[in-house]
Symmetry: D2
Subunit: 388 residues, 4 copies
Amino acid sequence: MRTGVWLVGARGSVATTSIVGGLALRAGLAGSTGCVTELPDLRGPALPAFADLVFGGHDVATTPLCKRAEALADAGVIPWRLVAALRDELGAVEQELRPAPVGATQADRAAAVVRDLTAFRERHELDRVVVVNVSATEPAPQPHPGHADPAALSAALAGPDEVLPVSSLYAYAAVLAGCPYVDFTPSTGLRLPALAALAEEARLPYAGHDGKTGETLVKSVLAPMFAMRNLDVRSWSGFNLLGGGDGATLADPAANAAKVQSKQRVLGETLGYVPQGGTRIEYVEELGDFKTAWDLITFAGFLGTGMRMEFTWHGCDSALAAPLVLDLARLTAAAHAAGLVGPLTELGFFFKDPIGSPTHSLGEQWARLTDFTRHLHTGGNGDHGNVG
Amino acid sequence: MRTGVWLVGARGSVATTSIVGGLALRAGLAGSTGCVTELPDLRGPALPAFADLVFGGHDVATTPLCKRAEALADAGVIPWRLVAALRDELGAVEQELRPAPVGATQADRAAAVVRDLTAFRERHELDRVVVVNVSATEPAPQPHPGHADPAALSAALAGPDEVLPVSSLYAYAAVLAGCPYVDFTPSTGLRLPALAALAEEARLPYAGHDGKTGETLVKSVLAPMFAMRNLDVRSWSGFNLLGGGDGATLADPAANAAKVQSKQRVLGETLGYVPQGGTRIEYVEELGDFKTAWDLITFAGFLGTGMRMEFTWHGCDSALAAPLVLDLARLTAAAHAAGLVGPLTELGFFFKDPIGSPTHSLGEQWARLTDFTRHLHTGGNGDHGNVG
Amino acid sequence: MRTGVWLVGARGSVATTSIVGGLALRAGLAGSTGCVTELPDLRGPALPAFADLVFGGHDVATTPLCKRAEALADAGVIPWRLVAALRDELGAVEQELRPAPVGATQADRAAAVVRDLTAFRERHELDRVVVVNVSATEPAPQPHPGHADPAALSAALAGPDEVLPVSSLYAYAAVLAGCPYVDFTPSTGLRLPALAALAEEARLPYAGHDGKTGETLVKSVLAPMFAMRNLDVRSWSGFNLLGGGDGATLADPAANAAKVQSKQRVLGETLGYVPQGGTRIEYVEELGDFKTAWDLITFAGFLGTGMRMEFTWHGCDSALAAPLVLDLARLTAAAHAAGLVGPLTELGFFFKDPIGSPTHSLGEQWARLTDFTRHLHTGGNGDHGNVG
Amino acid sequence: MRTGVWLVGARGSVATTSIVGGLALRAGLAGSTGCVTELPDLRGPALPAFADLVFGGHDVATTPLCKRAEALADAGVIPWRLVAALRDELGAVEQELRPAPVGATQADRAAAVVRDLTAFRERHELDRVVVVNVSATEPAPQPHPGHADPAALSAALAGPDEVLPVSSLYAYAAVLAGCPYVDFTPSTGLRLPALAALAEEARLPYAGHDGKTGETLVKSVLAPMFAMRNLDVRSWSGFNLLGGGDGATLADPAANAAKVQSKQRVLGETLGYVPQGGTRIEYVEELGDFKTAWDLITFAGFLGTGMRMEFTWHGCDSALAAPLVLDLARLTAAAHAAGLVGPLTELGFFFKDPIGSPTHSLGEQWARLTDFTRHLHTGGNGDHGNVG
């Protein structure tokens, strides 16, 4: 099952790490640490092999992929030996990267993306191409009447307006090209009624939003712990310090707001009430691709006794995100092959703000994910209702 | 369903907090924070009401219960207003406390405990009495041939030897008196072949060992998180600082060893491998009834990138343990009423070192616990095989 | 040497703790922990005894002092036994508290304050009254031509404008009444050219600004450590969570900005460069009178090796500030008695933003403070140039 | 002033980093971050230039210096570019390294070391050679009558006994060869009456013990902070996790005990009382050359209010120690050139367990160090009494 992985934001840290890692796995130069689809509970015949993944993508930046990989090696994100060993393979992927599309209208630019996707699929004789958005976080877009339904959207895109935010323009093109779509960021992507309707019409599955890689991952096991023990969480305050490209983007208050909202949702939905405190994101360039998050949780136990917990998470977002990008490409490809359509709510395990997921608890999400893959491997489709 | 709760170590911090809390709940003076049996997923008709719990117990100490409660109020563990409001009720429980049993042989002392338990049950017309061990941690006992089976045990106890450690002598007496038994400590308790066989013969359920209240509770959600994400935990080092009675006991290297072993088990069994590092327990008198644990976890992600997490837990063990003691008394009473016999493996949620539990993951333990209580409330007994 | 301590903001947490503590020291009910003037290097005959301090003050709030003390006891800031033992003494201080002054113009209101101060001094036959501002932090004031010199100020105050921020109106009145003045807050207080000139004319000493009690105290020893070791501090990020009255005030962005600026100054001035990162203050009501600060410092050592340090400070601001208020009242009274005039730069030890202090290093500030008190005790006045 | 730096333990991490760093400074390839002798308050004409330092040493290990440097580059301690650029220079130093001395008696082995030192000095036409012990920590030695005075020592060394621990045998040889001596470790080194007397006779200065590079460095500013604020430190507990060669050595309980004692001294001597709690050292191989220390400090403020501070230090010991080794070589060489004799107590700034230092406060040590260097640069010798 030859599967294309088309990365929107293909020269970014997450994409570059995904590509280097995917190539290293194919070449047997690295293990699958961090790839959940290689765990005994998940792996199986329905998933494309790492060796069957072919990479391509778009990016507005033009830095050669090899340079980006070298910079990540310098920053301690990936080992130098892999960059050295994979120069030829990276050069081959370089040939599959395309600049941002041009055109007078958004319709024109979407058509250009469709052409790129279709040509990629045909050139490599791929069974399918999964489009994954790993580009920088966008601010929340202005509402537009064209977001409401496919007809309105189609009409609006032909005009001069910037109807769709960029993430959604790529999602739109993916659907037109018949590609399943994954949104790894908090951007709008496919989350507009018009796009969801188009995906249903095209019988495509999709997944999102916002990869759960650090502080929120920890929250998604600690919040259920407090809830299961009936402890009264009085306040939960988080402070995220991050450098790198994403940090600079999030220093923009609008993007920051989108991200913070996504991060706090887990608490209210898991605890059933919203504790005091909030989450802050600050840009500290010097931290580079690493991120430090500190959280303070104050809680009351039996008879009101006050207690507290704090944690510091010091993680490398690219190293945490990249294997999940490969996992999501494999799982979404398998779902497409199985004829599943619409939001893949069973992939909530991967996301801060999971579409249609009934829970933010990592343990419950895991149970749903293992059920889902078991059905994929055995040819059933479980209780996923939207089979094509 | 009038239920006795007989506390071994009845004047200790955990027992005193349990008693004050139980009385406060009965009087409507406090809420049920920390009691998991009051969560929507667990509560129901099979459990005795808080108002139906009657307290008694043994202790070698003689400090009046009221004085112990005042000391805990001074230490910030329970509110002064509850101690003031519950003086009469605490005085009534004082009448139900008994000193350590006397007698020439362990058989004599066990018989004295049986008399205390039987008299308590009859005096208060109780449907049953659950015996809960909340006394200080013992060192691991010397092996003795009498531990092997009921006949050998009975013969040995009539002689002059100290055949059983104290925790096990109480467990033995509980079984003789027909009382379900819970071990909230890492001591031996009912964990001897002879005692397990006697409990089966007497058609009694039992539960244990070692209440999961702090650092290990956190480990039991974080370790599964690392496992579910296929992250490679390289080291996990823990440092526990505790004052109070338990701290002083654990400063004894033998008791410390028992506790530490119990605390590390969760890692090996959840991750499938044992990371570097260990757990240390230190006594710092000044911390009183509060405990501070610091853990450092180093782990590798995709392509070997090194990352780290640390957490500090600052908890009050008595305030965390006491509501679980009430929960366990209610659940074990309900299990006894339902005719269940033998180890209640579905109560693994409560313990660091759960008897017969197939998992140390809090999420999985929670799923088993909610199944179990659902069956209790609906009159079924689930897949618990040992029904009497 | 009978000394009045007149607290602006006399019913606040810091003032109430100062009063309870001062009364407790006088009554021999508490030790002098936290009072630096009782250390062997500082104590001596020039300082008024605790027993010679008489308390009074202004406040816009009207909650009785006893109620405030009880609330602080409930919050764990002061012991209940002191509140119980000092009810009569607190009642006596209650008689010395005055509401905010009224009057048509700021000149009228200043005159009312002068009358309150003068009457207090005469009523208790005090040698002098030290006015200490411990009221809530103000936003930075609008510039006004009246701030420039005494004549312009006097003219402006007679008009309808709010010429001075409230903290400065009290400072102005203190000077008019011949009282030395201490500003324990980051508010403007005496920091206006017109007021400084008036204090010189009145031959009065004064001290400030902004008591150094928590995160900044720690910074003022850690930053010199990095500097003395020639380590390259790359980033220093701080996150302050605080409840209580001060927290709510600081949630106001304008007041927050004043405070944050004061907190960061120590880094630039000690290191000689400003590292990346900033300081955040967040209000978390649930933390009450306690404050938690977390700081992350990343630094490079020899050959560029990256390292990091983090600390968490969990302090009670009132308990840290109150003894310093007593220290400052004693030291400023002694300086006045010794005829010193103008800014007491040798008291930089106590402040985040010390007037005229050449250093933010706690160690260097300590050396200057011990020199200063040695001179006071031996009757010399050191190199303090402005002797009257 | 051509100065030899003879490293005992010359192939260890600290020595290798010192050599690479010294060569990089000479070649202008690195800055002097971490070198305190390059701070404006300390630098001056009395110190030998980095370019005048010539490296040699002993080691029982035989791994080539270049291999050791590569391993440190792999571990993130030194940059790869320096190892690549300095291959020739490292090869030259390799020629100056000698294996452990052989000989039938300790006297023979000392004589062999003296020959190595003398030959090194003559071969490179050095003004002097400073011997610096950076070898692994030894257990405390057995007492021996030969330790008492030079005559007894000389007699004993000619016999078959292991009279001196290895660190002291090198110190003895250094003195015989007329070399000033620095002990950067907690081992015995020159700390024996016989050796101190010999150093006086030989008119040599010496310094030690145990470089202050991490947790103790932080303690030496935080403990004075608590003392200067008259806060009551109730407990101070430390937990050190370290990998690398030193970690493995310290896992040996005897060496551990020596180190821990050295680390706790600062508290008792600075605070005037010993708080509860202790320091633990644990070996966690995975941490490599990095070390993580966590300290919890509980303290009481005014009226007994309980508060707490915790810090985590994540440092690279070699990167912290190496520049101090260069500093100490320069300072001790300058002291020797100035004719100073005996313990250089003014170098207490550098050590956990400073010989003859009246204080453990970093700030006070800094004041003494800057005085000392000012005198060296201006040709005076301050209050250092033992001038030759």
